[in-house]
């Protein structure tokens, strides 16, 4: 891997302290070269990491594309430029997702032949490898041809990220039958059926996303984001409810044992564990961390970034859409 991993010090609810703390831990624990990108005036301590100055910040509430167009000296834009110009091998940000996508699009550029990039998020499947959900929020409205590329890129990504030989690719719809769905899914299904080169298993439904029956779930960004947020909220509520039930004043000793057994499961279901989502389809590794990313989430995100660079995921994605 050449070049450090650049981390957006200004992105996320817990920026800059938690982000910088995570970046420092990543450098120490993973032996990875890390450089921060951000506004020096707002950073009291870089914990010994180099800082690339970026005087502007795109906030979480700003329109992403507009932010990138008007704040050319923002950490998100500068970070993407570092990857484009070879100053960094990857970029990690827990900031404004729309702006991260726009910055990657307008600075790293699309891989040749890719119509639209998509955000690939790992959805935990207890006891099995995670399901890749793509697109989980970059492109709200999609065309069938874009979803076909998501299927190709998602398959290539799942092979690298989770070591799968022939990832099972499903098209998210409202019924298994190819006649079920909206116009987008019906048109996309017809294209995927004729495609070849991927292990297309047909339509899947919402309840299959967290099952071990599918490895890559393809959908448009609007639907994907609804699925993602629904699962996140639902899982958090369930985990809190279960631990709450085991923590009441009248629970016996068995509750303590149960908590011990359940703790690893809670880690498995925690988004922080998966190190953020990868933006597929741009000429560089751009990791999109959850807005609430903790220091641990940043450590994991940097680890994933390093792995994706080492595995030349961009090269594999380019080959996948050419196929």
């Amino acid at each position: 891997m050449s070049g450090p991993i650049a981390v957006d010090a200004m992105g996320g609810d817990h920026a800059p302290e938690q982000i910088i703390s995570g970046a420092r831990r990543a450098a120490d624990e993973l032996g990875v070269d890390v450089v921060l990108v951000g506004r020096g005036a707002e950073i009291s301590d870089t914990l010994g990491l180099d800082l690339v100055e970026a005087s502007e910040v795109i906030s979480m509430s700003e329109d992403g594309a507009k932010g990138v167009r008007t704040k050319k000296d923002s950490s998100l834009v500068r970070g993407s430029e570092l990857v484009r110009d070879g100053g960094a091998s990857a970029f990690v940000s827990a900031g404004n997702t729309g702006a991260t996508v726009a910055a990657a699009l307008l600075r790293m550029g699309r891989i040749k032949g890719v119509s639209r990039p998509g955000v690939a998020t790992a959805i935990p499947v207890p006891g099995a490898s995670p399901t890749v959900l793509l697109d989980s929020g970059a492109m709200a409205d999609c065309q069938p041809a874009w979803l076909v590329q998501y299927a190709q890129m998602g398959s290539a990504f799942a092979k690298i990220r989770f070591g799968l030989d022939a990832p099972r690719v499903g098209l998210l719809s409202i019924g298994e039958e190819s006649s079920k769905g909206n116009q987008l899914t019906k048109d996309t299904h017809a294209l995927l059926k004729e495609l070849g080169g991927i292990n297309f298993i047909g339509n899947v439904e919402g309840r299959d996303v967290m099952s071990d029956d599918v490895d890559v779930v393809v959908t448009d960004g609007f639907t994907g984001n609804v699925v993602l947020k629904t699962l996140e909220g639902g899982l958090r509520t369930m985990v809190n409810a279960v631990f709450g039930a085991l923590s009441g004043p009248d629970v016996g000793d068995a509750a303590g044992e149960a908590i011990g057994l359940l703790a690893p499961l809670a880690v498995e279901l925690d988004p922080d564990t998966y190190g953020g989502a990868l933006l597929l389809g741009v000429n560089g590794v751009s990791i999109i961390g959850h807005g609430s990313s903790s220091a641990t989430a940043i450590v994991n995100a940097v680890g994933v970034a390093r792995d994706m660079v080492d595995a030349d995921v961009v090269g594999s994605l380019a080959a996948a859409v050419r196929a």
């Binding site: 594309a65 507009k66 167009r69 699009l105 307008l106 550029g109 040749k112 032949g113 639209r116």
Partner: protein
């Protein structure tokens, strides 16, 4: 490599140079031959260039032109009025002209 802060004085771009810039950037973005991009070509109807392609185009133009004329910007609100390649070229030329007057 010229640092971002340094403004290198170059002669202003003439109309032909602006057209070639727009043509070459558009060809790159749309992955077509530059010869397929004529002045009269409509973005939507002839070139199948959607809103993303236009944003990529203005970014590329701003970056290229910005090296000669610091602070050159294309307003996103003006993008809606640019229907053909000629519209884009005329717009950039007009902006460069008013920049020179400042």
């Amino acid at each position: 490599m010229v640092p971002a802060e340094t403004h290198v004085e170059q002669s202003p771009m003439d109309r032909q140079q602006v057209f070639e810039l727009v043509r070459d950037q558009l060809a790159d973005i749309l992955e077509i031959e530059p010869s397929a991009v004529s002045e009269g070509a409509s973005f939507a109807d002839d070139l199948d260039a959607d809103s993303l392609a236009l944003i990529e185009l203005v970014e590329a133009i701003e970056e290229e032109v910005g090296e000669r004329t610091v602070g050159f910007r294309i307003e996103d609100e003006d993008l809606e009025e640019l229907k053909t390649v000629r519209d884009a070229v005329d717009y950039v030329v007009a902006k460069l002209g008013s920049n020179a007057g400042n």
